[in-house]
């Protein structure tokens, strides 16, 4: 496939991924493998789109004050360790095994994406605008929701860290962000409001990706020329997807994306 083709594919998958709230890499990497690219070469391209998407989304999320950096760094310590281990191990694993892993990741993302809930913590009348933000020395904070302020604290951190390590390992080996594991784990298991969980995940997947990409770069596994256009394509697609998000039903999009991921997984398994 030509470089422009990669850029167009990255744009399309980023737009669909942004619409479904899963990110584009979980779709991009398996499709690149289906077009004939070895899984070990597709993984760095996927992670570059994840890191670029994380950077592009940051200004809006910082302005909304929904990112909890302390939670992000605390969980990222485990996730990045997983990503580094995954990236180092992936160089020793055959492309066939990586393809099966990608199929499993696509199936997992399909299952989680299709069933994701939109539960929110309620605003607390005892909290005001001055309470908005994360707390010094603690895994807690508050974020604005409409006219109210929603306080939260992180529960079951140790259980959540297990999922973060798994997400990092997936990122390092398969090239998908692992965000489809991180956001539900942060929201459902650690009781962080969904909006904060999603924004903090967007922040952390960039770090996970960088940790693995440094390993890939030093192993000479990054196709620099293709990467630049894939990054541009994913940034444009991410903006398009975010713009279209409000005009389409999120639950319908998530189901369509799940079916698409399911199809990709089946084709990957059949090919492998």
């Amino acid at each position: 496939m030509e470089l422009v083709g990669y850029a167009v594919l990255a744009m399309a998958t980023a737009a669909i991924g942004a619409l479904g709230g899963l990110g584009g890499a979980v779709l991009l990497v398996p499709i690149l493998v289906l077009t004939g690219m070895p899984a070990s070469e597709a993984a760095p391209l996927g992670l570059l789109t994840v890191a670029a998407g994380s950077i592009a989304a940051a200004p809006r999320q910082l302005r909304e004050r929904t990112v909890n950096h302390r939670l992000g760094i605390a969980t990222e310590l485990v996730a990045s360790t997983g990503a580094v281990v995954g990236a180092l191990v992936s160089g020793l694993v055959s492309d066939e095994v990586l393809t099966y892993l990608l199929a499993a990741v696509a199936l997992g993302a399909a299952a989680i994406g299709g069933h994701r809930k939109g539960l929110r913590n309620p605003p607390d009348p005892a909290c005001g605008p001055a309470d908005v933000g994360e707390r010094v020395g603690a895994l807690a904070g508050a974020y604005p929701l409409g006219d109210g302020v929603v306080p939260y604290r992180v529960d079951r951190l140790s259980s959540g860290l297990g999922f973060m390590g798994l997400a990092g390992l997936i990122a390092g080996t398969a090239g998908a962000s692992g965000g489809f594991i991180k956001t539900p784990a942060t929201s459902e298991l650690m009781h962080v409001p969904l909006k904060v969980a999603a924004a903090t995940t967007t922040f952390t997947v960039g770090i996970t990706s960088s940790a693995a990409l440094l390993v890939f770069a030093l192993q000479g596994r990054i196709d620099v020329e293709a990467s630049a256009l894939v990054i541009v394509g994913s940034l444009v697609g991410g903006q398009l997807g975010a713009g279209l998000q409000s005009s389409l039903s999120p639950s319908v999009i998530r189901r369509v994306l799940s079916v698409l991921l399911l199809l990709v997984a089946v084709v990957l398994i059949a090919r492998a």
Partner: protein
């Protein structure tokens, strides 16, 4: 006046509200995104050698910026005297550096 319920948890535990508002991060990340997009697009139109140089800058920026954000947070948390999270941030950067060192030594290749 009713007595306070000793079992009730405060709505938000921890210390003061963090002073990190993104005043530096927001413009820095906005301009980084714009620069990466512009340079990535321009790189497609350049001759081979210049294209590779431009593409390398794009990739290096995308890899480095998330780690620079961590370093920036460590700096800000030091100013907030939040020693626990300064240590966590430094440990995270050490993990990333250790992974890079292992890769440079040929582990996993």
């Amino acid at each position: 006046m009713t007595a306070a319920d000793p079992s009730a948890r405060p709505p938000i535990p921890g210390g003061a509200v963090s002073t990190i508002r993104g005043r530096i991060q927001v413009p820095a990340l906005t301009w980084t995104t714009r620069a990466v997009m512009a340079l990535g697009l321009v790189s497609a139109l350049l001759p081979a050698a210049a294209r590779m140089a431009a593409a390398t800058v794009v990739v290096a920026a995308v890899v480095a910026v998330p780690l620079l954000r961590v370093a920036w947070l460590v700096h800000r948390w030091r100013q907030e005297r939040d020693a626990r999270f300064v240590r966590l941030g430094l440990a995270l950067l050490a993990v990333v550096a250790a992974g890079a060192a292992l890769a440079a030594l040929g582990v996993g290749s």
